[in-house]
Symmetry: C2
Subunit: 318 residues, 2 copies
């Protein structure tokens, strides 16, 4: 029988790419989204597929979530992707990440217990680690001192999932996402730069001095890692997901976008190596655990950025 997947934040950027792959494998998918950020049109490509359905619900409402699972005829696995996706917004107002990043997890766990759903795949984040300086960030590093409300509420979610696992949840995969890029983009540095250059083609203003360096994973690689981890045996797994490189600088991204959108533009860098409170200047993210299971990204950071720039330019032109 086809596996019944339920995907929260189902109209979001990563969900759309995941759902495409799940449906292609012959499984059934119910997408749940409150449409506060995501848009129903994003799911248009699936609407004629009988294996797909959509339910509008806020998953921080446990009773509504339980009802939605019942309405869907039950679920075998939940992919919990719903969260605030605008980290700087959550820095200025902590209640955003409380409600959208943490209470969504709380609601999902309560509904899973109520409806007896045994498997949870959770979209966690490298933001839980905070600023670890030059230390190589493997999954077991401590202490975890997140420096954004988003990171704090992802860590809070992991903590609650850990307690729920002890209390009877069957299987949990904690997936610590890196910076993920691709289409359909709704936020992020590439989309910002593309839009800024369209508005003012002669000049691109960049927060920080451009030396900030991060690893970027293309969303297709992210989904391939998620599906790979799903096939592994562990009952409680925690994995960093990312490319096998140290990343690219903000300067590289700015120049790549500039060269494609407005080649003559001047790039004006700011000062300091933090773009905003809660941002981390440098990040050495270990993916050794995942690599040991045989997975690796098809695209390193530089190629992922180059490709995502093309995809986002196409998205913005349409």
């Amino acid at each position: 029988m086809a596996v019944r997947h339920l995907v929260t934040g189902g109209a979001g950027f990563i969900a759309v790419n995941l759902i495409r792959r799940l449906l292609a494998s012959g499984d059934r998918v119910v997408a749940i989204d409150d449409l506060s950020t995501g848009r129903r049109e994003t799911l248009a490509e699936f609407e004629t597929d009988g294996a797909f359905s959509f339910i509008q619900a806020d998953c921080s409402d446990a009773a509504r979530m339980a009802e939605a699972i019942g309405q869907a005829g039950g679920a075998d696995e939940i992919w919990h992707l719903a969260a605030n996706s605008d980290i700087p917004a959550g820095v200025s107002d902590p209640t955003i990440d409380l409600r959208r990043t943490f209470l969504t997890t709380f609601g999902v766990l309560a509904a899973m217990r109520d409806q007896g759903v045994p498997v949870l795949h959770f979209a966690s984040s490298s933001a839980i680690y905070g600023d670890q300086g030059e230390a190589l960030i493997h999954e077991d590093i401590g202490p975890l001192m997140p420096i954004s409300n988003y990171g704090a509420m992802k860590l809070a979610s992991e903590a609650q999932i850990s307690a729920a696992a002890e209390a009877g949840l069957g299987r949990i995969n904690i997936l610590r996402f890196p910076n993920v890029i691709g289409a359909p983009a709704t936020h992020g540095v590439i989309l910002d730069f593309v839009r800024k250059l369209k508005a003012t083609p002669d000049r691109l203003e960049v927060l920080g001095d451009g030396t900030q360096q991060k690893a970027y994973l293309h969303v297709e690689d992210l989904v391939s890692a998620m599906l790979h981890i799903r096939t592994l045996e562990g009952a409680r797994q925690v994995f960093n997901i990312g490319p096998a490189d140290d990343g690219v600088t903000v300067r590289f991204i700015a120049e790549t976008v500039r060269d494609r959108v407005s080649p003559g533009a001047e790039i004006a860098f700011g000062e300091g190596n933090r773009g905003w409170v809660g941002d981390v200047p440098r990040f050495r993210y270990s993916i050794d655990r995942l690599a040991a299971t045989g997975w690796r990204a098809a695209l390193p950071s530089q190629a992922a950025v180059t490709r995502a720039v093309e995809e986002i330019i196409a998205q913005e032109a349409s």
Copy 2:
């Protein structure tokens, strides 16, 4: 000028012992409590002290908390002790620790930001670590996989405090409490055993096989550690607090209570070495970081238990 302290969970067991010391040092204290568990009578000894005042408020209500801080004429330091104190109750209903252990922290942080209070001392817990097996639990160990909702929501609180510190909070002390005993007891294994033996003097039933071993700290030692850490220089400090021993078994506690309350009683042990879901059978808690600053407990676990048994028997007789 006298330092203005604000103590949340101010009518609770640990707060009463802390407030006594703070007032004795000449500082001012405002106790805040919603009186859902704590009782106003617990604070009777301070009521005639002009340096003490009490405000009834639920500190998960940030606006009410901010108002209370204003009403108190501002605060220099907050000791945030409010939390669910009944861990097993929180295991069966996760919303208890959500509201009382996590959202209280969230409300306190929002109110501190609103009112410009610069210093937070937070009552965290060894429960954040989960079951680390035979590993020595120092402050930087990872991964943190709490196995109770209480531990999860204490870890969530630490995460939110970490993000708040990055966003401008002046100074934070994360105090990871062990099992704390003494009077006025409102819950815990000693009180349970005393009450059970009073109800059925010939027989004491014990959850688990009695081999479960934990370190216990007397509340007077806990408060002395809290005040010691307050005098240290760090802007963001995390300390395990506990005695310098591996603790005592449940069997020792049961026998100590039995010998004092009902010497002829039979002790009937259960099976397994976990009392309830979320409990940890054995726990090697490192206090090396705190010891390196010159502090140590006056009472080791065994003496702490023996003394607390006397205090709780006296409390129950009055």
